[in-house]
Amino acid sequence: MASTIKVKTKFLGDVVQVKSLMQHPMETGARKDPDNGFIIPAHHITQLIFTNNGKQVMVANFSTAVSKNPYFSFSFKGAKAGDTLIISWVDNIGEKGELETQLK
């Protein structure tokens, strides 16, 4: 089973740049199913958290207005190659996704 998260990291001097992409429908709860006309219930990531070697480096809080298959990028200092970066998301119905990667 492929992960629901993809990540690319790059060192720029002492800063590491993290780009991430999640596979998630990000349903707003206002959209109708084109097949039957029923409202599709809201289903969206609420929090996306990045933890480097056990230290939280980013907490992103999302509403339904973040695009489908969300993209998020940020940068942080104080990391070195080989550090373990954990990316995890949780959504409004309790589903979760997680990916562990080594910085390079």
Partner: protein, 150 residues
């Protein structure tokens, strides 16, 4: 002192993190109230306790002039303001204007990018909360009804 208090909290978070990692998410609660407000000022109050922000030219908000597709509008926000605590994206005319808010932890740069949905042509506001205050800058993004997709 604010800095000390923050450092103390930070240490607490790390300890907690060590205790419950790897599966548990430990962030502050998801700001449900701010995210459900249908009106921009109320959304700002929901998140910051006030809707008053100081317009700052130290914030760079990169958005397209005309969105190719309102469902996927690239947004980049960065700032040279110091002691940044959070960055938020607010779309004035969205049904629920608060789009996302990012906690900037010490060591993390105040420089983020994402892609957001816009219901119609609207001002997009980048709000930066620092230890000193709440700052913002806005830009209009036009959202058009497509023709046939090119």
């Amino acid at each position: 002192m604010q800095v000390t208090k923050r450092a103390f909290l930070q240490a607490g978070v790390v300890l907690l993190a060590l205790a419950v990692l790897p599966r548990k998410l430990l962030a502050a609660a998801w700001p449900q109230k701010a995210f459900s407000e249908p009106e921009m000022n109320a959304a700002l109050v929901g998140l910051f306790g006030t809707d008053v922000t100081t317009i700052s030219d130290k914030i760079t908000l990169k958005v397209p002039e005309i969105a190719e597709n309102g469902a996927v509008v690239p947004v980049t926000i960065k700032t040279s303001l110091q002691n940044v605590e959070s960055i938020s994206i607010v779309v004035e005319k969205n049904p629920r204007p608060m789009v996302a808010t990012f906690e900037i932890i010490p060591g993390t740069l105040a420089d983020i990018s994402s892609r957001i949905k816009m219901a119609e042509t609207s001002n997009v506001m980048a709000v930066i909360k620092t230890m000193e205050g709440i700052y913002s800058t806005s830009k209009q993004v036009k959202v058009t009804i497509g023709g046939c997709g090119g």
